[in-house]
Symmetry: C2
């Protein structure tokens, strides 16, 4: 690897100003936002166009330098951080942040990879449409990263994961060639589905440089409620009842364990328990509909009253103002920081079948109790998707923490035919889990595809596989 020659080539492509080679300039690109994965690089480049990305990748391929694509660098698994070899070129997409086109009649918009999610949401809104992807990092994460990791979030129940929100993509392939798959079609059966192969591949098969995203009718009307429950089984029954009663207007259904609410109430002075009594479980739920829909709130009231009669919930609070709805959502959104403030914890992002959630929680709690005495379950998540952040506090004495809890929880997830990574991906963090828990036939298929598309293995090495 001729480092000076490659740096010169990169400068010639993206310009001196956008080729960072000094440690101080590169610093913020070399570690993930939590500082858990820190590496080094030969250079960080900030290309301004797909053409430049293509030439950068081609130059790296010729020189034999690994390429690490990076968006907002908000991932949870170190997928955008380079390794410690110092041979990699980090390709930061942030300058490619344009909304290229919004087409409300086709319910589609074309954005570049570096477009911040919130900016994409705003562009849709200005056209009278909704781009429903919504997650905690939306103020800084970028669309390219959302696609590369198939991000989830709070609206998956109604609108699906990121891959369900994409009509087409543009990709720079490992040899630098550009595949322009920027279609705005809702039906296209001309051969293999390459789009979904790149979405969720975490930059290991190419660099997504732009995408055509699906838009939906705006849904500004909201009806929000928090309900109190005895156990997660009630939540699963309530979910089915609300889906039957409210159809596709049900867009969020978030499970919250009591211990999580306790931590939020302790962490944030302004937080108030919406109920006068303590309950072991809660669900925060929301309906959404267009401006002209009628009876959204009344429908929710009736459905909740019916569910209460059937014993599917214990108590309920319906937000009667936007401020009340916001206060309920703040309880949910404060959970991550409140649990961090509480001290070390095992954190997970698992999925099982929605119907299996109650049995899984019971089994996992029992395993925690017997194998990790003193550790307390911190469980919350997107119940409507079967996606739980099943976390656990550190016990008083813990030699193998948090590894030991992982070895308790993940095999249990496996027994329920679940996933150890529901929405966060694999990155560097969960490569060992991939090999340990994933079907060998599937890993072999993944390797064959990786070799076929990136024979030199230079696209984001050390991630996923």
């Amino acid at each position: 690897l001729n480092r000076p020659a490659l740096r010169d080539a990169l400068r010639a492509i993206v310009g001196e100003r956008h080729t960072l080679c000094e440690a101080a300039d590169m610093k913020s690109y070399l570690a993930d936002w939590r500082g858990a994965y820190a590496g080094s690089a030969l250079a960080v480049v900030r290309p301004g166009s797909t053409r430049e990305v293509s030439e950068v990748v081609r130059a790296c391929a010729r020189a034999g330098a690994p390429v690490v694509p990076q968006g907002g660098n908000t991932g949870m698994c170190g997928g955008a951080a380079p390794d410690t070899d110092g041979h990699s070129v980090v390709v930061a997409l942030g300058r490619m942040n344009r909304v290229r086109a919004v087409d409300p009649l086709n319910n589609a918009m074309t954005v570049e990879a570096g477009c911040v999610l919130e900016a994409a949401q705003r562009a849709a809104q200005e056209a009278g449409r909704l781009f429903p992807l919504s997650l905690a990092a939306q103020g800084s994460c970028q669309i390219g990263g959302n696609l590369a990791t198939n991000a989830g979030g709070i609206n998956v129940l109604r609108y699906g994961n990121t891959r369900d929100l994409v009509l087409g993509i543009e990709v720079v392939l490992p040899d630098g060639e550009i595949w322009n798959g920027l279609r705005a079609l809702r039906k296209d059966n001309r051969g293999y589905d390459l789009k979904n192969l790149f979405i969720g591949s975490e930059g290991t098969l190419g660099i997504i440089t732009a995408a055509v995203l699906k838009l939906f009718p705006a849904a500004p009307q909201r009806a929000t409620a928090m309900v109190a429950l005895d156990d997660p089984a009630q939540a699963v029954a309530l979910l089915a009842a609300l889906q039957a009663a409210c159809g596709a207007t049900l867009c969020a259904f978030e499970l919250i364990g009591r211990k999580c609410l306790d931590l939020v109430l302790r962490h944030r002075d302004a937080a108030r328990d919406p109920f006068s009594a303590n309950h072991p479980w809660y669900v925060l739920l929301e309906l959404a509909a267009g401006d002209s829909a009628t009876g959204l709130r009344e429908g929710l009231e009736q459905a909740i009253a019916a569910a209460m009669e059937k014993g599917q919930l214990v108590d309920a609070v319906l937000a009667s103002s936007l401020a009340q709805a916001a206060a309920l959502w703040q309880l949910r959104e404060t959970i991550p920081e409140a649990t961090v403030a509480n001290g070390p914890a095992f954190r997970s992002d698992i999925a099982v079948s929605t119907a299996d959630v109650p049995a899984f929680i019971e089994a996992a709690r029992e395993a925690l109790r017997t194998r990790h005495p003193g550790s307390e379950m911190l469980c919350f998540g997107h119940l409507g998707d079967g996606n739980l952040h099943f976390n656990a506090t550190s016990p008083p004495a813990a030699d193998d923490w948090p590894r030991g809890v992982a070895d308790t929880v993940y095999p249990l997830v496996e027994r329920f035919h679940g996933s150890f990574s529901a929405e966060h991906g694999v990155g560097q963090a969960k490569r060992a889990e991939l090999v340990r828990y994933k079907d060998a036939a599937e890993i072999a298929l993944m390797r064959r595809i990786k070799s076929a598309l990136d024979p030199a293995g230079l696209m984001n090495p050390g991630k996923v596989l």
Copy 2:
């Protein structure tokens, strides 16, 4: 290729009774239902289990015999018919037709590949749920074929294509290995999306033997209307207005050209024009909602009245009974047979951006007029998906029919960045179009994947690529 030895091996796997080698026994498996693609085979086998499929594929791989997977054999592009070499083994999945499990709380059901679509719909209905895939061949097409071709149909607008309705699949790979990807998870980010690679690959990468399908809340309430329009631009504006007003309850939005309605009225004695005057264009549309929803019909009436005021439609008929709704749907569903009865025609299955539909129709009609005088446009389709069956009658004198019209229409589709195959696939029928109109970079990627997964090229050769 040792034919007797392979036949013996197949008999040993699936049994004498399910190994067909006589011409008379094989006949119905060797040509597509329209008789447009007729081939021959070494044998037709009817395996009864995934294990048997695996052993059949392994035996064929060892012997070097091509494998042709076949479901209900209702495809439009010859994807399930063997070639004329006579070396192929047709693997007919019809005996594997069980619904393995229905899980209403997880909104999922597991079915085998040979399950007829209508049986899958029924199983969902009996559990109080909806499996929304719906298309003309549903009484005989099989789930395996629906997945292999990523079938579309009339509910795509609301529920998506087949790939959007699948949580997991089981596949026998080209070497006979079984990949069990029968997950019932709504979120799973553990590596590459292999599921979507097999869905829509038309049996060229492996044989799908079972699937976990998504279910939805039952939506038995319907509000159905037919509206008359001056032009397709009104239809596009009306679609946007109804999506805004009626949200996700809008589940069908079918465009019908006057000439199609004429043919239906002539073909079917019982058919009646719902309007007293002639109009150049119509849309058949439907809302659907759960039992407890209120005001579905009133909402549609209001939305249609508002659209009429804005000049988005000329006249409207709302079905006031199930029988009236059925009569309207029968007009739409009779179009294919009425156009066939009318004589030879160029038939297509194209997609463009929904917003581009009016400009495309205008351009295609004009091209037809100037280049194929006497040929009349027969245009109908799923406007909500930008998917048109843009057909054209044979002109009085036509040397190069229907090839000549294809060479007029498809380049135009290309100019609109559209697809020459929206929902029917490629099969044998559209391989030339694939090479002619599809991006070279994309075809190269497809070939690399095909080689990586099926290096011997024995899975359904001569299809797609």
